[in-house]
């Protein structure tokens, strides 16, 4: 029976979301959020029921990262809200615009240790950009609009809105209409643009200092992070790359900003980076760091990182400048504005690609880039995961008919995907980089698929991570979400096992998963087509079968339990002291 729509805080919330252009949300109902779910029942916004609030949060993250829009997730109070926390922390670490809406016990019950009561605002403070609790139903429109603004502006991040149940059912003084204009103050936007112009004027001297450093550098390296994609400045960055012809390295989140096949691209830097990238950084005399934050997995031992390099650091977040590495020139603003300024100044003042020192540097970097490692693949009996991922990457790069997004989980498979797959845009590779959250891959891929139903979405996962949000197979079944899951199964928590082998005297504490379930049977229980392979001669055919399948698909790939990720920079070691392999491997 369809009752007339109730006009209350909950319906007001849905109307505001609709006005903000939200079309899809992810969530899970429960007691304190029931008025919202009643409003969802009659809202044109499509709600996707995930099977755990953490799945809903990661789906919102995947949705946001694939589409650039704000992802929205909803949960009830208490355990529903705490289950969102990991997703919010993930979004915080990777600067993802997400808005989480949680129900709360009624205002009068707050502070009485009521059923499913938890102070989620307090819990969220360390892992959100901002958190709101709405105590007055009339504040709902402004609060939600502000939450979206905060989530998406500057350096993006998650925002939590906690709405007590009595506020959800309260009658607002005025009913918000869908067609009402958003309360935009024109004078305020003019003021904003004046501030922006002033800010850019004040940046000009820094740009000039940067050009000077660039002109004096003999061994420069461009170091690109996730901020370039977030700023929508990929084209401007690529112009810098073309104008300068400087070698370039990427962080895990910067992958795809430069096309993986670009001749000046040396690969990922850091713990599992390429030798070419790490040596270039270590020998560099100038790092041009764009939208990156000198993460410890990228720098290795900080005191010995790029010891001779001056640093130009361009980032939107002032708190990242001088946080881990002092900058000689810091340009703190939106890369979308500052990169064109730098490009223009370089075009006018810089004509260096032909200078002999630079050519020598480029040639050293190119030689290292083209060096091939013999991982003795032919001698291996089973499937070699890097080869699998190269084949997968080749197959999907031939498909120009649809957008491709690859999500991963966390572990060896993630590093192999980062090393051996090639991406042409940053949003193509969606991985939990900063927080390193196992269980991320499947729900993030679901979110990415929902943001672009015609896209091809592949989740590369491992047997440890896959089990961490396995319940989301239920979401795949419910909505027939056609993601392709490539499960690389070594029956181990592989990266931890590798560290135990290398740094803990082969004491394999709690990393054996050889009692994993039958993954093919498990997938089939959710009506997901699945097959297992363990022979390398079946690889290409299996990949093609998976990609040709219309619905959801699980390709279960069994690999050797003792395969390692190489190269590796041991912990607290400089990036040029990398291990290339173990003897005998």
């Amino acid at each position: 029976m369809n009752d007339p729509i109730k006009f209350n805080g909950a319906s007001q919330t849905m109307t505001v979301l609709q006005r903000l252009g939200v079309t899809d949300i992810f969530g899970y109902p429960g007691g304190a959020i029931m008025p919202m779910y009643d409003a969802i029942y009659s809202s044109p916004i499509k709600h996707y029921l995930c099977r755990h609030e953490q799945g809903a949060a990661f789906a919102a993250v995947g949705y946001a990262r694939a589409s650039g829009k704000v992802g929205v997730c909803v949960a009830t109070s208490g355990p529903g809200a705490t289950n969102l926390i990991t997703g919010l922390a993930d979004a915080m670490a990777d600067s993802v615009p997400v808005v989480a809406i949680t129900g709360q016990v009624p205002t009068r019950a707050m502070g009485t240790d009521g059923f499913q009561e938890v102070d989620i605002i307090s819990l969220s403070l360390a892992c959100t950009k901002h958190s709101f609790q709405i105590r007055d139903v009339n504040e709902i429109p402004e609060c939600i609009e502000q939450a979206f603004e905060i989530a998406a502006s500057g350096r993006p991040g998650p925002v939590l809105i906690d709405i007590p149940k009595d506020v959800q059912v309260a009658q607002p003084d005025s009913i918000l209409e869908l067609i009402d204009n958003l309360p935009k103050n024109l004078d305020a936007s003019k003021e904003k643009s004046d501030i922006k112009n002033q800010e850019l004027l004040s940046i000009e001297p820094q740009i000039q200092r940067a050009v000077q450093l660039i002109s004096n550098a003999n061994q420069p390296v461009i170091y690109v992070g996730g901020g370039v994609g977030l700023a929508n400045a990929v084209q401007d960055f690529r112009q810098l790359l073309e104008n300068s012809q400087f070698p370039c390295v990427a962080t895990l989140k910067g992958l795809g900003a430069v096309d993986g096949n670009h001749p000046n691209y040396l690969g990922m830097l850091g713990m599992h980076g390429t030798e070419a990238a790490n040596l270039a950084i270590q020998e560099s005399d100038l790092l041009i760091v764009l939208g990156a934050r000198f993460d410890d997995r990228a720098t290795g031992k900080l005191a010995e990182f790029a010891p001779n390099a001056k640093v130009i650091h361009m980032d939107i977040d002032p708190a990242e400048v001088n946080k881990r590495r002092l900058a000689d020139v810091a340009i703190v603003s939106d890369l979308k504005n500052t990169l064109p300024m730098l490009n223009q100044s370089l075009l006018q003042q810089f004509d260096k690609p032909t200078m002999p020192e630079l050519q020598k540097w480029q040639s050293t970097c190119h030689q290292r880039r083209n060096k091939k490692y013999d991982y003795n693949e032919d001698a291996k009996k089973g499937i070699f995961a890097p080869r699998l991922l190269e084949l997968l990457s080749d197959s999907i790069s031939k498909d120009h008919s649809r957008a491709v997004h690859v999500t991963t989980d966390v572990g060896q498979h993630q590093m192999w995907a980062a090393q051996h797959m090639r991406f042409s845009q940053p949003e193509q590779f969606i991985t939990s980089a900063g927080l390193g959250t196992m269980g991320f891959g499947v729900p993030a891929s679901i979110g990415a698929q929902i943001s672009d139903p015609s896209g091809l979405n592949i989740c590369v996962t491992g047997d440890g991570s896959f089990m961490m949000n396995i319940q989301e197979l239920g979401t795949i079944k419910r909505y027939q979400i056609p993601i392709k899951i490539v499960l690389i199964d070594n029956s181990r928590l592989g990266l931890v096992r590798q560290w135990q082998q290398l740094f803990f005297e082969e004491r394999y504490s709690e990393t054996d998963l050889s009692d994993n379930p039958d993954f093919v049977a498990l997938a089939k229980a959710f009506d997901i087509e699945a097959r297992m392979i363990n022979q390398k001669d079946r690889l290409e055919q299996s990949i093609e079968e998976m990609l040709a399948h219309e619905g959801p698909y699980l390709l279960h790939v069994k690999i050797d339990a003792f395969e390692n990720v190489w190269p590796l920079v041991p912990p607290d070691t400089a990036n040029d002291e990398m291990m290339i392999s173990l003897q005998g491997e």
Partner: protein, 93 residues
């Protein structure tokens, strides 16, 4: 140990103070003195805080106070942060 005095203007919101203290604690600073008052005209919180910056392994992280300053400045409800003039100057000197 090094003492810093910080003056802060913040929105008069319930979470402003909690968030300020959370960031301060997590960055390793100890609050030794704190006073908060509300300006009834602007409805802003005026906060005066003294924090001790502990040494780690016998060394004082020279950029520690700048990091705290930047990370406080970034909080949505904090509108203005003023370090006592000695703090940044001494760090840089």
């Amino acid at each position: 140990m090094k003492l810093h005095n910080i003056e802060i203007m913040a929105n008069n919101q319930p979470t402003a103070l909690e968030r300020l203290l959370q960031v301060t604690r997590y960055r390793g600073f100890q609050v030794t003195d704190l006073s908060v008052s509300t300006n009834p005209e602007t409805n802003m919180l005026a906060i005066k805080m003294s924090v001790n910056q502990p040494s780690i392994d016998g060394c004082l992280d020279r950029n520690g106070i700048e990091r705290l300053y930047n990370q406080l400045n970034k909080l949505f409800d904090i509108k203005h942060v003023n370090l006592n003039p000695n703090s940044l100057a001494q760090q840089q000197g």
